[in-house]
């Protein structure tokens, strides 16, 4: 094990959550360090969404504890998670398609100017900041007044990530950011993940695709039907083993065959090796 010496940014200890008689999560533990990417892998129904919602304050765990910088952390609301520096980029991106980019960017945390009854939304600052932050991510949006709905999937992803980074997130949770995207767009998003990591953020990257996770991940938590299949450092687990654990023997072989047959799969396999 070659874990770095830094203390974990977030430690998740033995989390459990049930909904009625359904055990959605049970006995989940992992750590996230600053400047590292922890990948949470699992197929549909593995409990990934529940896991995120606990970390972002939408659900409260029935059991288990969270520690931020070694201190016990309780997240009663999404707001509390944001205030603690935990920002979640949801699968559906938590954006309002009909609203302008700048309005979305600052939604819920609008900058204001003036005082008393004259306190108002500082739209100039909001527009300027949005444009600048997006430029920093390498995207020129030009017109911040454009509705978010007119952006492509990758662009929306980048707005969401830029927003999280701007609002001082120390821990970025990305919920299946690549699942709805084409190969090229997915590659762009993986680049943003690396960028966020290099800025010193802790990143939790949720995905069902080990081929997206492996190139950027430092740590891998595998979920299956609400339980942990293991929590590994990158050095402890090679990609084939990760894929095998995720898919299970026979299914994996079929997947490998399918990947070999398609050009996209070839590309992917080449990317990985």
């Amino acid at each position: 094990m070659t874990e770095p010496e830094t203390a974990p940014l977030l430690e998740i200890r033995d989390i459990a959550k049930t909904f009625g008689s359904v055990i959605s999560l049970y006995g989940i533990s992992t750590t996230v360090r600053a400047g590292q990417v922890t990948c949470v892998l699992g197929d549909n129904g593995a409990g990934k969404s529940t896991f995120i919602k606990i970390l972002s304050g939408v659900y409260q765990p029935d059991r288990g504890e969270l520690f931020l910088d070694g201190k016990r952390l309780i997240l009663p609301t999404p707001r509390a998670a944001l205030d603690a520096g935990i920002a979640t980029v949801y699968q559906d991106l938590a954006m309002v398609p009909l609203m302008a980019i700048w309005r979305n960017f600052f939604l819920g945390s609008e900058p204001t100017k003036g005082w008393g009854p004259w306190r108002r939304f500082d739209s100039e600052t909001a527009k300027r900041t949005t444009r600048k932050e997006m430029l920093d991510m390498g995207i020129d949006i030009r017109d911040p007044d454009q509705p978010v709905g007119t952006l492509s999937g990758g662009e929306r992803q980048s707005v969401a990530i830029a927003r999280a980074v701007y609002f001082g997130a120390r821990l970025l949770i990305l919920d299946e950011p690549t699942s709805a995207l084409g190969v090229k767009q997915a590659g762009v998003v993986l680049k943003y993940i690396v960028q966020a990591r290099d800025r010193g953020l802790g990143v939790i990257f949720i995905t069902h695709n080990p081929h997206h996770a492996y190139p950027v991940g430092d740590r891998f938590l595998l979920l299956n039907r609400g339980r942990s299949l293991g929590d590994f450092a990158k050095s402890e687990i090679p990609l084939p083993e990760l894929t095998r654990l995720m898919a299970g023997g026979a299914e994996l072989e079929q997947l490998a065959h399918e990947l070999e047959r398609t050009s996209v799969g070839q590309e992917m396999l080449e990317d990985i090796s």
């Binding site: 938590a94 609203m99 819920g108 108002r120 017109d143 999937g153």
Partner: protein
Amino acid sequence: MAATAIGADERVARVGPLRRLLVKPELGSLIGAVVVFIFFASLSDVFRSAQGIANWLDPASTLGIMAVAVALLMIGGHFDLSAGVQTGTAGLASGLLTTYYGLDTWLALALSLAICLAIGFVNGYLVMRTGLPSFIITLGTFLMLQGLNLGITKLVTNTVQVNNFDKVAGYQILRRVLASTVTIAGAPFEIAILWWILVTIGGSYLLLRTRFGNWIFAVGGERNASTYVGVPVRRTTITLFMLTSTAAWFVGNTQITRLTSIQAQAGFGQELIYIVAAVIGGCLLTGGFGSAIGASVGALIFGMTSQGIVYAGWDADWFKFFLGAMLLLAVLANQVVRRYAEQTRR
């Protein structure tokens, strides 16, 4: 537009001025208003005289005040079918409390406001609490209020109206604030027109220039997303219902002050007209998109059409036909805009 070097995405650049104009919600209604004005002005001299303008601005004004509030609520994703009868409730409450129970006028007005705010709160609270469509919840309160308005009025007065509001203390002050006229170019303009303009400016400012306005768009556009980023969805929605009730209070008291009496059925049926004005003004029925100015222009179109038909010497029955046709046109136009704004590229 100059090309920018860093990561320029050639597809983003295609947003031309036309597209930006198209997503302005009030554009359609402004064009409509100009067309309607030219149409009736060419048919009738009176329509474009100062007296004519004062005449068609009058019905537009009280409707416009309600339409702005209803538009904000619609942008927030909800309907209030009880908004119309609430104007009746407000006027009846003020009237009954003063003329039959001898309460001080200002106290009666405050109580009337409290009643309206309570109705608005209940509407909003029930919608948030049950998760049922506001259409059903407010249909319920609409019917209940309609019954209460009639029932209580009959019980207290043994008639279906409240009279003699001009006999109460302070009526002259009220009249000056709510129902006086200002003579411009020889024609008397109702003071309500001024209030209407102020409400439109205030509503537009609230919507476009404040945090609360941003939240209105958000809760109406995508409720879950709003929750995730920390927007107080429940508070925003309940506040919107209470704002609508406040507008109903204002309009209801304007009406009783103006006429010095009020019918127990006052406001009944108006709720749909408010929604029509808001939709003509560019509000989407599904929420998340619309404009306060647009709703006001919708009310203006209503005023011009209702009076214009009379000036043109046509049977007033045609009015509803025109209104319906305009509503259909507006909805179709809105549909196009929405598809345009929401179209997604992967």
